[in-house]
Symmetry: D3
Subunit: 180 residues, 6 copies
Amino acid sequence: MYYAVRVNGLSCKDPAAVVSDDFFAGADKLRDEVSERYGFSALTVQIPGLNTQGQRYARVDLAPGAIFPPHYHPRAAETALVLEGSVYFGFVSSYPDNKLFSKVLHKGDVFAVPQGLMHFLYNNGTAPATLYASLSSQNPGLVLLADALFAGALPDDLLAKTLLTDKHTVDNIRANFRPS
Amino acid sequence: MYYAVRVNGLSCKDPAAVVSDDFFAGADKLRDEVSERYGFSALTVQIPGLNTQGQRYARVDLAPGAIFPPHYHPRAAETALVLEGSVYFGFVSSYPDNKLFSKVLHKGDVFAVPQGLMHFLYNNGTAPATLYASLSSQNPGLVLLADALFAGALPDDLLAKTLLTDKHTVDNIRANFRPS
Amino acid sequence: MYYAVRVNGLSCKDPAAVVSDDFFAGADKLRDEVSERYGFSALTVQIPGLNTQGQRYARVDLAPGAIFPPHYHPRAAETALVLEGSVYFGFVSSYPDNKLFSKVLHKGDVFAVPQGLMHFLYNNGTAPATLYASLSSQNPGLVLLADALFAGALPDDLLAKTLLTDKHTVDNIRANFRPS
Amino acid sequence: MYYAVRVNGLSCKDPAAVVSDDFFAGADKLRDEVSERYGFSALTVQIPGLNTQGQRYARVDLAPGAIFPPHYHPRAAETALVLEGSVYFGFVSSYPDNKLFSKVLHKGDVFAVPQGLMHFLYNNGTAPATLYASLSSQNPGLVLLADALFAGALPDDLLAKTLLTDKHTVDNIRANFRPS
Amino acid sequence: MYYAVRVNGLSCKDPAAVVSDDFFAGADKLRDEVSERYGFSALTVQIPGLNTQGQRYARVDLAPGAIFPPHYHPRAAETALVLEGSVYFGFVSSYPDNKLFSKVLHKGDVFAVPQGLMHFLYNNGTAPATLYASLSSQNPGLVLLADALFAGALPDDLLAKTLLTDKHTVDNIRANFRPS
Amino acid sequence: MYYAVRVNGLSCKDPAAVVSDDFFAGADKLRDEVSERYGFSALTVQIPGLNTQGQRYARVDLAPGAIFPPHYHPRAAETALVLEGSVYFGFVSSYPDNKLFSKVLHKGDVFAVPQGLMHFLYNNGTAPATLYASLSSQNPGLVLLADALFAGALPDDLLAKTLLTDKHTVDNIRANFRPS
């Protein structure tokens, strides 16, 4: 049976060696995963035992005025619980509607984002805000729209056409995503 | 495209009528779902928009000395975050090992239970404890082992054989699960 | 293509080396998997070729008066065919109904148990009974409720609270699950 | 919760109206599903409660000399248990190997066929044979190769090219699949 | 069996009424689905019979200088075949790498984009280009990054923070996405 | 995160070593995969990056009069686009209907075949025909009905019974599938 488990990729650790800590994550196990550029920090909850269970979690801290800029998870839906403070949370529906679904969330409120849709967090209050985000995959992935557009190697003229603007505007924006 | 969505069962509400509240759950939307017998309450987070997203959530409150008795979810794995207080959380592995994996969790700690395994919560401290439980299905189901054995219509002799004891002991235990 | 097969975990044997016996299980391949405590034996059908096909099988033999105590499979639904004799087969629905669905099955009858629900077998007749159980996973897992509660390391007071009884009763039952 | 169940298509019967018989199939519920042309009969086990559980079953009876001709299930793997008699059971691997994997099975033997591969049963003994076939889908489908080729409306010249023979041979074979 | 098919959502048309045209799409069935703003047109191949088969297709036409701006499909991977002309095709990997994977494709070339990643098409040649895009879902969804950011109701200050620029720049870009 | 990816079998190449060519397939990467016996060639599009994305592609060339004989894919649905010429494309539904669904396809037309059903291509025109076939699995498999029946080691009498004919006819057909 153990052999079958390994064959099916459900585990790559000797089952006999599995311990309680493989299913546990304390504050000391939180690992910073996202840049501080936007004034937030996202700390991923590392739980080896969740590896094939279709779940992943993160704690997100937002200072007053901080944002978790528009992003999406290529392989997961997300649900977030507010632990402290207030935050403006929203997502935008698919083309062609681009309809905004949003709420100002307070402690104890929960908001959900369907699989793959673009969403954002904005702490437009005066107190720090903390959220607990749940993702429906052990490997959800993360794409920040601004970084995907400006931090990478997309051609300037492609970006100008995309934003219906000129290269000059594109270069000005891009400069901030490529610190010299 | 909308038609396809409905055909695939991904939604049963007119997409044009979907609003932000369909993805939101405030304290006022929490619904009591489990009996108070054990001194705990489990409040399910009701989010219509999560219906086909493979996620479901609950807030669990445990008074000092209260337990969420050994139970499992037939169709989901679970991960729980401690919001307040401390709690002794554990699960037991499959037959024949029946190995206990457990931790005393404090605020901010997270513990995970693999798909379908029996787990429990025990507030053996002096302060109330609150947890936020995440389930990997929009319809996880819940089976309390004691209720499944004693609250239903299982034959007494089957139960006696199961517990390696006598009918008298079974009847004494069962009496408390069948208030007259 | 063979490489892709291995990458996708659909096989871990050199396809060129696969033989008919990899899809075959004779009586000599049946392997005892469950303790004899309850007077039954469950023999798992070992078929390497089924490893990624979402199926697993077992032959269950019950002496007169024997039971396969209340149990469930964390990762599978089950369907059983009676090969010989008669058996009382049932399962209990989820909380809060705990409704018993059961039948006395005779040779040729088939009974099904939905994913993860607690079920049991009881040969309350005078002749031996044999069943062929089909599980909808190559790695269904098995949890015996009584063992999960009493054979493991659950705290006595947790068990007493769970069974709405006292530690003395718990200790008396537990003693039989922990032979000295 | 019930609403969610219905939304997800996990049930289309009022849960409150579900009874034990919805999970049971006795001999009287077996329904003939395949023509008698080849001297066999396949009786499908009808269990409403299995509808979304990824399983389906059939009892197959083969008179001496009878065959269940080469066929496959577009949406399922199959495993068969011999209940009575002996049978020659085999499947052929994919193109380009077309390798035969087969066994002469006796009472109690089990043989498995991977998802979608062509397989057959041949009772080349002198006693009736009975098998219990398990399929890994509630809607496995069935394609008999000879019927798919000759009973339908495939053009004669396409068939001749396919069999590397002439139209005369095709017409002779086809005549038996189209009784006037 | 037909009933089961409907129950499982595999079809919502009376099987007896299904005809060849339900599996066919000719040029006359192509339906314009995307705005002409960027000089391209994407014509979705409408095939009712594909509804539950996990596939969807589109023909994309790009005039010289036209782009299919950076976008992604929340529920699908994509593979595209060049039918005519040449096109610069690329996708950007997840945060934090934002690595560009791209190729200039010519007639007969194929390029693939993993599930949910941002990709784009750019006809930087002098002849029209046509592609056949395959999506791994019957309901892939489409999100154009620029529209998701500027065409919807995101707050200006959130956008300014996101793009590391000022509201003035945001308003100038946004003006083109909100024709008066 | 990369480790998790490998554990889940989503990749077996060092992510840091992945390059654009891993998502690209030019004409030079097409690999012949099917015998020329029937006058067609099927060239599989080899794209490493598609390995776990549930897609696979092939280019099929048919000379005038050539056929891609009746076959099926055990693990995939198929959709084909006509790139050049015309072709008669059809599939046959399951037992007992064996109903033919077919169309004469011209350049730009698309036809779909549900998961696992038998289908064929026939160029009954005077010009060469080329198609682009899309399969809904990275490992669809291929079974040619005629080869499965005649090229393998099926017993002659089983084949005779299957085709409702005599061994002489079977031997005559089989001779062409077993060149001496």
